[in-house]
Each structure stands twice: as C-alpha cells, then as structure tokens.
Amino acid sequence: MEIVTMKEVSFGYGDAPSLVNLNLAIQQGEFVALTGPNGASKSTTLKLMLGLLKPWSGSVALADKLPDGKRLEVGYVPQQAAAFNSGFPSTVEEFVLSGRNSRGGWLKRRRPEDFALVEEALNRVSMWEYRRQRIGELSGGQKQRVCIARTLVQEPDWFVLDEPVTGMDRESRLHFYELLEEQVRIHNRTVLMVTHNLEEVSEKLDRGIELTRTEDGGWKCCTTTLCKGHFSQGD
C-alpha cells in the first residue's frame, strides 16, 4: 500500500521553481532516507507530502486510511524542532504527553497507558530524569530527543522526520537509528527521514532517495538508490 504518491509535482517559492516534475512514492512498512545537498528542497518535499504546502502543478495523494480501516496517523518532527520557543512554559513530561492529543479525541481522559507510554518514550531517548524540567532549559540535542519522544508517544503509522539527529552525538544517533528500524521491522510502521548522514544509517534502510540538480537550470529531480539488505536490485 502506498502511504503517499507524488506525481509530476512542481513547486517553488516566489517565481523560482525549486522542484520540477517530482515523482515519488512511499510504501507502507518502508524505511526511507531522503538526502541531497543544502537547498535541495528536502524539507519542501516533506511539506508537500504532508499537505502543508500546495504544489504549483501535479498531484500529491496522501493515504487517509490504512488497509485495516484505521486512520493514518502521521508523526512529524520538523527541521530544527529543537529551536522551538525557549520560553514556552511546559515541562518535558507535559510536552511529550501532548503527543497523545490526537489519539482518541480532544476531550478524552488521560489513561494510565498514556503516562506509561510517556515514561517508555522518555526512557528510550534517555530523557526520563529530565521529565520535570522546562523544555526551554534543555540543550539543543536534548530538545531534539524530547521532540522524538513526543512523536514516539503518538504511535504514528508514518514517521516523517526532517533532520532529526541534528545536535545529537554519534552514539545517540546510532541508538536512534536502531529505534527507527525497530519501528519499521517489528511494528510495521513507515519511516521517511531527511538526513545528511546517509552512510551511518544505510545498513538499516530500504531505500535512499536523493534529490539532485538537473542539467538545465538548477531544478531538482530525484534518483532512488536501493539499499542493501532489504531490496534486490531488480525491485
């Protein structure tokens, strides 16, 4: 099943087009990395997929429901999520718990399972001991981990992560890739991650998609690299 399909999508800011005739599809249960140089419109591609931006032309079809009839839940971590409003008066625990807001209606009472999920997610990103701290008092890497914990708590069917390892040390990054692989292989969730560290994570990926410049005038198209282990070259 295709989670999202982009057909002949073109988009730009102002008068200058930055993406031209982009064709791309993400399948359910895939672990995909989106790479490309700075300014290659990687974040823009994610926003087009999520419906946060409207394409100039072409179509973007985001699945509404999964094959089992459940509504598709998207867990989005934007670029530089750690640069959020540092004065925001919220504890780490309160912030991570807000990941449950979209589950089961806005007025539903919090259940013990919700708090258990928060504890588990914060432990997974090694931030449980900071749960009572204000999020604005954390370092950049810690804020990033807290944002990831919030997305984990959401239990999304599709993780859309825009440079999620910014500010993390190598050990944390490797630990994080393992966590994502577990989401894909064990829980059959889908991961699309923008990264500049492709070589670090390539062993775990199904596909790497690279946005590259076209020869005629600086527009971008995409090339797909099949990664070892999960796809044969003929797929």
Partner: protein
C-alpha cells in the same frame, strides 16, 4: 467599600475580565501576538465612534468592530506568516485613523470618549456586565474544550496540522474570542490600558511557571490580585481605576521578575560553591 452597589459591580466585572484576559494573554504571548490586544482596542474605538455617530449603541458597535478587526488580522496574518506583528500594525493604523476621522465628525463625544480611553469600571452598566459575563463564560468554555489542540497550535502550527488539528478554524475562533475579550475589557481599564490586563499577568506567569497548566492558573491569580488591589487602592486614594489597576499589575510584574531573577542567581551561586552535591 463593598456596601456600595457600584463597587460590588466593579469587583464582579473586574474579577470576570481578570480571569478571561489573563488566560487569553498566556496564549497571545506564546503566539507572539502580545500587541494584538492593544491593536484591537484601537480598532474598537473606531466602532465606538461610528456607533455614536450613526446612533447605535457605542458599546455594542465597539464590540462588533473588535471582532471584525480580529478576523481581519487573522486574514492579514496569513499573508505575513513570518512577521505576524506586521498584520497587527496594519490593522491598528486602519482602526486608529478611522477612529480619529469619525471622532472629528462628531464634536459632542469628547466626554464619552474619555471614558472609553481611560475606563470607568465603577460606572459599569447592566449591558456591559451581561456582555462581560457572556464573554467570560464563552471564553472559559473555549479554552477548556480546546485546551489540547490549542496547546499544539500554540507550540507549532505545522506539527498541529499534521495531527489533524483544524488550524485555520481554530485560529479564526481564537481571533474572534480575542476581539470579544478586548471589547468587553474596555470599560474596565480603557482603550489605552487594556493590554495591561492581558499582557502583564501572562508575562509573569510564563516566566515563573514550571508547566503550561500552571502558567494559566498563575496568570489568572496575578490578574485577579491586580484588579482587586487596583480597585481597592483606587477607592481609598481616589485615583482613576483603570490606571491604578495597570500600575499595580506592573508592580506585581516588576516584583515577581526581580524575585525570580534573584532566586535564579542564588541557585547558580550555590551550584558554583557546591558542585559536588549537585552531581550526587
């Protein structure tokens, strides 16, 4: 003091508006729209002037204009996403210039306008009190029912949208409510000081609170303290109530901020002197 009917009404009206304005202020400040209250009060003044000129109830005309102004600011904000204060400046210029022109067309309004500019909480009439009660009830209900999507929206609109928060409709409802609160608060502190009720309690609460829920609660507590203390001081010293309330809110903010800074400095000094105990 409280055996006077007008003082009872003033305390009741002041308490109501302190609750809803302080709560609204927390969200406005975090959305970087702290000046929106100031802007809407100026726009509302144009409505008051138009109402008086055309023979409508000035209070209701001001109320409607503030709501329309809030809707307009939301519309302009979408064109200036990265600079939301630009939309506020644009609508404020429109409102204030219209108010000045309309006022000049009606020379008999000078006295009435001074009451809108500086507030007359001790002369709050029944219509204004009912309007206040309605706005406070609607506002509290709105903030209670939508507290979770509003939290997501206030933190980051894009992420909220991906979590199926109806961002556009919620922003619109929020703007309308802001207009309603500002218009209802005008009789208490007046056009010139209405933002003091919205911004000052929220500014202090956001700084002191460990959590979002605490920020709302503390802002309301500071707002009520400021309004009640201001009304009491105004009664005893025969000072204008609007200005006295705003001054007391400013004093509370100053005291709270100074104590908070001192407490933080003391904490860092302790940490420098005894780093081992912190690591234990």
């Amino acid at each position: 003091m409280l055996h006077y009917d007008f003082m009872q009404r003033a305390f009741f009206a002041g308490g109501l508006i302190a609750v809803i304005a302080s709560c609204l202020g927390v969200y406005l400040m975090l959305r970087r729209q702290a000046l929106m209250a100031d802007m809407l009060s100026h726009v509302s003044l144009a409505g008051v002037a138009a109402g008086a000129l055309l023979g409508f109830n000035p209070t209701l005309a001001g109320f409607l204009t503030a709501v329309l102004g809030a809707m307009a600011v939301e519309f302009v904000r979408r064109s200036y996403r990265a600079y939301s204060e630009v939309s506020i400046a644009i609508i404020m210029i429109g409102g204030l210039s219209l108010a000045v022109v309309l006022m000049s067309l009606n020379q008999h309004l000078t006295r009435s306008f001074s009451s809108y500019l500086f507030g007359t909480v001790v002369a709050v009439n029944k219509t204004e009190l009912l309007l206040l009660a309605f706005v406070t009830f609607t506002g509290c209900l709105f903030f209670f029912l939508f507290r979770r999507p509003l939290y997501l929206l206030t933190f980051d609109e894009e992420t909220a949208r991906t979590q199926r928060v109806p961002v556009t409709r919620l922003n619109f409802a929020f703007s309308v409510l802001t207009g309603m609160v500002v218009a209802a608060a005008m009789p208490i502190v007046g056009v010139l000081l209405v933002s003091s009720l919205i911004v000052l309690p929220a500014a202090l609460a956001n700084r002191l609170s460990p959590s979002f829920a605490w920020a709302i609660g503390l802002a309301i507590a500071f707002g009520i303290t400021g309004v009640f203390a201001g009304l009491t001081a105004s009664y005893h010293f025969s000072t204008p109530p609007g200005g006295t309330i705003a001054l007391i809110l400013l004093l509370i903010w100053l005291l709270g901020t100074t104590l908070h800074r001192g407490w933080k400095k003391l904490g860092s000094l302790r940490a420098k002197r005894n780093p081992v105990s912190l690591n234990a």
